[in-house]
Amino acid sequence: MAKRARTRQKRPVSNKGADVQAMTGQSIGGRVIAYFISHLQVFFSSLGRLYRAPLSNLMTVSVIGIAMAFPMGLYVLLQNVQEVSGGWNGATQISLFTKLSISDEQAEELGRRIRKFPEIESLHTLSRQEAMDEFRAISGFGDALNALEENPLPAVLIIRPKAEFSTPAQVSALVKKLHAEPEVELAQLDMQWVERLYTMMEIAKRGILVVAALLALAVLLTVGNTIRLDIQNRRDEIVVIKLIGGTNAFIRRPFLYTGFWYGLIGGILSWLMIEVSLHLLAEPVHRLAGLYGSSFKLATLNLTNTLALVGAGLLLGLIGSWLAVGRHLHEIEPS
């Protein structure tokens, strides 16, 4: 030790690399390995620390989980609505009312002509009598209609465009083309409500974004505050570590990993909450869809969304702890 002490005085303190190497007796490679090992140790020891105070940490993690599950859950529901309305959009139909002077035979002839259009998926012709029967059955004005001398209803052609011709622009072009037929009195496209639904969903999407941003802020504050309390509770430990030569990075590390764990576990928890909630909704939704003659099934989180959710949790946990550490750690100095 005497020799060590004497050789040490000659070496300038400012040579950090040589200092560290002399202190640890390790090569650069050895030090890199030691660095990663120390990270690994803190990685697990910070998890162990969370495990040792399960109740308070569970509360923190739950707050994070709920705050993230809420906007993500809404988003998944919205995607489901889009899925459903997308199906309806594909089923856009155009009703072609012929002029009153057009006979059923002429209407059939028109139908045969239109069927050859490339845009048409299917065409169904309702003769004037069929239109009358249908109206009589649905409207309940049967007796009143009997009083009329002749059938006031025109023949109707119900047309479905092909899926590849079902964008709003293509469909309205088709409507115009159909309307140009001389026999046609009125071509009616019932798509306005789909457009309105789309607009409403845009608003909902925007709303979810706003809610998500606010709740992300809440997660940041929750993590930040928890870490701040943790720093205050471990004040003595921080002072001692500084006194025996711990760098700021060394002191920072366990707190950053704690934030990492909060975010990761919070993210997983929010995924679990969403999955359970959607599972609870799935059965009644499937039944409702059945009532409408649809086989629609509630979609759950896909892989991209799951990764985004957990990734966002991680990031928020890290940023929150980073902010807290940056703000409060340098306040603690030995005195």
Binding site: M1, A2, K3, R4, A5, R6, R8, Q9, R11, P12, V13, S14, K16, D19, V20, M23, T24, G25, Q26, G30, R31, A34, Y35, I37, S38, Q41, D236, E237, V239, V240, I241, K242, L243, I244, G245, G246, T247, N248, F250, E333, P334, S335
Partner: protein
Amino acid sequence: MIHFQNVYKRYPGSQDALSDVSFHLAPGQMTFLTGHSGAGKSTLLKLVSLIERPSRGNVLLNNINLGSVRNWRVPYVRRHIGIIFQDHRLLFDRTVFDNIALPLIIAGFRHQEIGRRVRAALDKVSLLGKEKQFPITLSGGEQQRVGIARAIVNKPPLLLADEPTGNLDPDLSWEIMQLFESFNQVGVTVLIASHDLELIRRMNYPVLRLSQGRMVSTGMEYAG
């Protein structure tokens, strides 16, 4: 090893804690620092360990002017100093082993090396076999020995002790001093702040004496 050149230290809103202090401590020297409470002993040790910076004058450690050491480099300087406190400053949520291992973990030693060195340090302070205990289960003297083991475990060339025997009875104090003597015998520079004049007389080492912030005696030939 330690060189003070006309050092002044004034805390905001108070008198000079140290004024015009100069001395030189040679490497391998064991020295006592004495003076009554408030004379500036702790302040002097804080200047060496970079807990405080001087208001005026220079403090040199290993011929390095500590005034030129930037804040981010302070931890690396402190790794060359073993500091022993009156109140031990042990971490009570960790075992004796983990307390002593802390400086080695900070410096990035390997696992096996840590175990080897910690046991060597425990052996030196005669606490082998207590490594799995928590500090709270140890007596005051044993806790102080754990603090000493932590200070010497990474073999620093300089030991600073601030009233290391302040809470101990004379027999235990004597044992602790013997321990410091044994480190000094293998070449470690030791500076012990103490107001236990009786003990200091028995030890027979050079004495630096502070009074109201001034160095009134630099003990025999060690004038600065």
